[in-house]
């Protein structure tokens, strides 16, 4: 329940960041706007990766509910790997933008873009750390209380982060300014 | 207290000589519209307040513990509750409708007759009058500061913006306030029924000297306004050679003119070529502007309308003049006898000591080496005398 509340609260956080981006997305020098820098095919792939990680996460939750430790650990690891792929993609994307001349401070568009996606990236990273911690602790059998529940909570968080990306991907990448 | 204030304000308004920024004494159409809306609202609020307070007083006295038995443990009466919910709702509908219509009324720009650009910066106001047919016709742009001169009985459209932070333009007797936001242009209607001076104040916190960022609106009847426009467009007259003022001109050119523009001021090189002196305050001042001093002595105040250019007597004479006499008195400007040399001297000697500003070397280091406000220039008293003599001719 606390997790649900926390996520409700996060809606306002990301809402604020997305709104800021929406307000500022058009404010940039003509040659360095979203239409110029975004690499839609690339981002589509990494979005797809993140989306699929939701599937593996749900499988982990389901295995945990069936008390299948091995499968739980497997799926958690896969989820973490998919997440890491996504973050890796983002890092790559950021560096390539940077090489094209789009720094954090270049324009309002870039500041708000990096802030928004950066916040999301940090959330994913935190999620990965949580997943790996889960696997680690689980291996040593030290998840106290109801294991399935802890996995499910992390799952909620993970799905939420995915859902936020669904919105960001559409509003930020697909809809041109 | 509110009820009391509202009631007594209604009674006493008019008889006492109140503060010049009194918000309950409209002197123009727009402020009047606000007032017509607000006094009934205050009255209603006052009445509601009195009723509630009276009810509390009554209950407190009537039902205090005098040894009566334990009261009935009643949990409420929904019908009464609902009635007492609907009543305020109705009152608010009554308030809401005129509110909405006044909002749109005040936003209307179709009946304004002339345009003045108002720009706020730390910590003074610049007014520039674009050349236009409105306002009875202005042939060339005029730039001034501190006192906003408008034709009386005319609806003027102010276009407000700012060069640095947010300020707010407010002449309570003429209209409500409107923020001046950098990067945005907001509009505000101004109209004064009668010639006279109306006090105002920057009301959005804008840093160190926010308290010293005042302004005044001066309404002149249309003829006087035309005279004023004429004065502003008069060409530059060089001081008589060899006079104090001529020495002042040189001192000014050397020490002041790189920030302050005086239209028509020019310098003559040894070889005789004459070049106009153009200020470039953007290199020295954060906001990129300093007041235009071409006709300084046509205004009565300086440095964000915080100090008078007139001595107290002369000032009172202008402020207390009847609407008929006002225009002529105002157009006299600042004469040698009336000049408040004390404050002006102090200003030129060490401006930041008089008005908190951001102008020391250490402070400049934090803002790309530029000042906010006017720095101390380290002039000696003779130079100051000369400069004042020179400025006195900027009328």
């Amino acid at each position: 329940m606390a997790m649900w509340m926390f996520l409700g609260s996060e809606c306002l956080l990301f809402g604020g960041l997305i709104s800021t981006y929406m307000l500022y997305r058009g404010r940039h020098p003509a040659d360095l706007g979203p239409d110029q820098v975004f690499d839609i095919p690339f981002t589509s792939v990494s979005s797809f990766v993140l989306l699929m990680s939701s599937l593996t996460m749900v499988l982990a939750v389901s295995s945990a509910a069936q008390k299948d430790d091995r499968r739980t650990n497997l799926w958690l690891t896969v989820t973490a790997l998919l997440g890491a792929t996504f973050v890796g993609g983002q890092v790559y994307e950021f560096t390539s933008f940077y090489r094209e001349g789009l720094g954090f401070t270049s324009s309002l568009f870039s500041s708000s873009f990096f802030t928004l996606t950066g916040f999301h990236g940090v959330h994913v990273t935190v999620g990965i750390i949580m997943l790996m911690a889960l696997v680690g602790i689980n291996k040593r059998g030290r998840i106290p209380g109801d294991k399935a529940e802890v996995v499910e909570l992390v799952g909620l968080y993970w799905h939420f982060v995915d859902v936020v990306w669904i919105i960001i991907f559409t509003l930020v990448y697909l809809i041109p300014s | 207290m509110l009820g009391l204030t509202a009631a007594s304000a209604a009674v006493l308004a008019g008889c006492a000589k109140d503060a010049p920024q009194d918000t309950w004494q409209p002197k123009g159409e727009n402020a009047q519209k606000i007032h017509d809306l607000q006094w009934p609202v205050f009255l209603v609020a006052g009445i509601v307040g009195v009723i509630v307070l009276a009810a509390i007083g009554f209950v407190v006295i009537r039902y205090r513990d005098k040894g009566q038995p334990m009261p009935e443990q009643s949990h409420g009466k929904p019908a009464l509750e609902i009635a007492l919910t609907i009543l305020p709702a109705l009152i608010l509908v009554g308030v809401g409708i005129p509110t909405a219509s006044t909002i749109f009324d005040l936003a209307d720009e179709s009946d304004t007759e002339c345009i003045i650009n108002v720009t706020g910066q730390q910590w003074w106001w610049e007014y520039d009058y674009p050349a236009q047919d409105g306002c009875g016709g202005i042939a060339e742009p005029i730039v001034t500061s501190g006192q906003l001169v408008i034709p009386a009985n005319t609806n003027v459209l102010l276009r407000l913006t700012s060069r640095d932070v947010i300020h707010s333009f407010w002449i309570p007797a003429l209209n409500g306030k409107k923020d001046t936001v950098p990067g945005r242009v907001h509009t505000l209607r101004m109209q004064a029924d009668q010639p006279g001076i109306y006090a105002g104040q920057c009301t959005e916190f804008c840093g160190l000297s926010h308290a010293n960022m005042k302004m005044e609106a001066v309404a002149l009847n249309p003829d006087d306004f035309q005279t004023w426009v004429g004065n502003q467009l008069e060409p530059y007259v060089s001081p008589e050679a060899g006079s104090q003022a001529a020495l002042g001109e040189a001192a000014f050119t050397a020490n002041c003119a790189y920030c302050h523009q005086v239209n028509g001021l020019s310098s003559t090189a040894p070889d005789g070529t004459v070049t106009p002196v153009l200020a470039n305050p953007d290199q020295f001042v954060v906001s990129g502007a300093a007041p235009n001093l071409t006709h300084l002595m046509t205004r009565n105040t300086f440095a964000g309308a915080t100090w008078d250019l007139l001595t107290d007597e002369c000032r009172d004479r202008v402020w207390n003049a009847s609407p008929e006499e006002f225009g002529a008195l105002y157009l006299q400007g600042v004469t040698a006898e009336c000049l408040n040399a004390v404050d002006l001297r102090e200003w030129i000697r060490n401006a930041p000591a008089k008005k908190p500003m951001y102008a020391s070397d250490a402070q400049k280091a934090n803002s790309d080496g530029k000042v906010r406000g006017m720095p101390a220039l380290g002039l000696n008293e003779t130079q100051i005398d000369q400069i004042i003599a020179y400025l006195l001719e900027r009328n």
């Binding site: 329940m1 649900w4 509340m5 709104s19 697909l174 | -």
Partner: protein, 119 residues
Amino acid sequence: MSTTADHVEHADHDHGDHGDHAPEAHAHEHKPDSYYVKIALILAAITALETSTYWVDFGAFFLPTLLILMAIKFVMVASLFMHLRGDSKIFSYLFYSGLILAIGVYVAFLATFRFFAST
């Protein structure tokens, strides 16, 4: 004890039942993995459709299509993966109240900037 309690009683038929430490059972029945895989396939298909707008011109339908597809994806993940559908109502209340508040507030916010006016 004859108290006023009984006429307060009628007031409460809400989530009061959580009050007595009743464990909120996570009692959603377990779906087979294939069920989730199917959902994921649908989601993948939608994503493919979305990205196709990058190459194919949808004309006037472009914006609404994207927004609707986005909403579908959102709801699918939230309600199926996150089990919002099966879980206690109060969870969805907590989450959706945040979500709806966020949408409402920020849409109003953008509206004050005339964000929706021109485009």
